[in-house]
């Protein structure tokens, strides 16, 4: 990759969150509404929401919260930029995890019980999905011999054919990461839940907007990870990601919220065993 290509990729990565992520969120809301036999908001609704939030009066619980919202946003955007630069998968995951932890710290810094309970649940969610993400990356490493995204693109056939179970594990992570039912424990897209807005209860105004944009970046990142499973053909990649995302929204609409014990138990039991089966199969091959 030359310098000019690199700069273009950095800019594309920075733009992808606010533009692509926002459009995906809008599409998500329309699809969800259609599933519930409603018409739903316009496609640009997430953009209206975020712009409006930036124009609201600033109300901060404490300085830490403002700092954490900015740190979460920065880490999420850096991880997506690194993904666009086809960098190291492990590095991307660690930076993404740093951002996720900052969001939790911000929620912990407030004394609101809703925010606190939401933060506890988010920690459990991170505990559930981080090992599974590492397993997926290890699978890619065992197959291609490198943690670099570059080497996945250099691979001559779709990774999905060799790592089918890993893809199931990744879509499991996707459900948690996108805050979709049955794993929208800490906070959800739906306005009302038992924890009001959980983790995001005390973020407001422009800081809520920052967490929303960071969430778009994370959506782009996880969907990007999904696209790595079909790198030989752009049409195949788009089809695979589109189908996975459609299934996510479908699952979101047909399932109820589950408690964290179920998430950890099922997530680890299913995720770890499927990963191990796939890894052993790769090794024995």
């Amino acid at each position: 990759m030359t310098t000019s290509q690199g700069i273009i990729m950095i800019l594309a990565g920075l733009a992808s969150g606010p533009l692509l992520g926002g459009l995906i969120a809008g599409l998500d809301r329309i699809l969800t509404a259609r599933f519930q036999s409603r018409i739903g908001p316009p496609l640009l609704q997430p953009f209206y929401d975020v712009i409006k939030l930036f124009g609201k009066e600033k109300m901060v619980v404490n300085v830490w919260q403002a700092f954490c919202a900015n740190a979460y946003m920065t880490a999420a955007s850096i991880s997506v930029v690194l993904f666009f630069l086809r960098s190291d998968l492990l590095l991307i995951l660690f930076i993404q995890a740093v951002g996720a932890v900052f969001l939790v710290v911000g929620a912990f810094s407030s004394t609101s019980p809703y925010s606190q309970a939401g933060a506890h649940r988010e920690l459990l969610q991170i505990l559930c999905y981080e090992p599974l993400l590492i397993f997926v990356v290890v699978g890619i490493y065992l197959l291609t011999g490198s943690f670099k995204i570059e080497s996945v693109y250099a691979w001559n056939q779709p990774v999905l054919l060799k790592l089918p179970f890993m893809f199931v594990v990744l879509s499991f992570v996707l459900t948690i990461k996108l805050r979709k039912s049955p794993f929208d424990l800490s906070t959800s897209h739906h306005a009302h839940q038992e924890l009001v807005k959980g983790l995001l209860t005390d973020y407001s105004g422009s800081f809520l907007a920052l967490t929303e944009i960071a969430h778009w970046y994370e959506t782009v990142l996880v969907l990007g990870l999904c696209s790595l499973f079909w790198t030989t053909n752009p049409v195949g990649a788009i089809l695979l990601v589109g189908l996975t995302y459609f299934l996510e929204i479908w699952i979101d609409n047909v399932s109820a919220r589950l408690n964290w014990r179920w998430m950890l138990g099922y997530g680890w039991a299913m995720g770890v065993s499927l990963s191990l089966v796939n890894l052993v199969w790769l090794y024995a091959r």
């Binding site: 609704q45 209206y48 929401d49 712009i51 409006k52 609201k56 009066e57 807005k197 809520l208």
Partner: protein, 141 residues
Amino acid sequence: MFNKILTRARTMSPWVLHFDCGSCNGCDIEVLACLTPVYDVERFGMINVGNPMHADVFLVTGTVNHRNKKVLRNLYDQIPDPKVVVAIGACGLTGGIFREAYNVVGGVDKIIPVDVYVPGCPAKPEAIIDGVVLGLEKLKK
């Protein structure tokens, strides 16, 4: 230019906080009816949030009494500017049939400034949506 975009975003995304200030639940059911597939207020970007810090539009139903006037005031103060207050139903407007009761202060406007009054006992969902849309005119200014 920027102000124009911001104004458009504000009118396209009114997040609603609903507070039952001692209502008989008649108006509250009508407020919630707005969210159902029949009326689907999400078409206008409206979301019913449970958190005053995220809200733009404050829907208040029912009479204000000496117990809950502090809660009403507190919720109002927690909503960041710019905000719109919509009082709903006969009780929210004036105290309704309870206005003579010893514990009733009266309508919502006795405690906080009200922008739009939506009459009715209970107010119809169409009227409530109309009231919120009218309230959005304030955000345009």
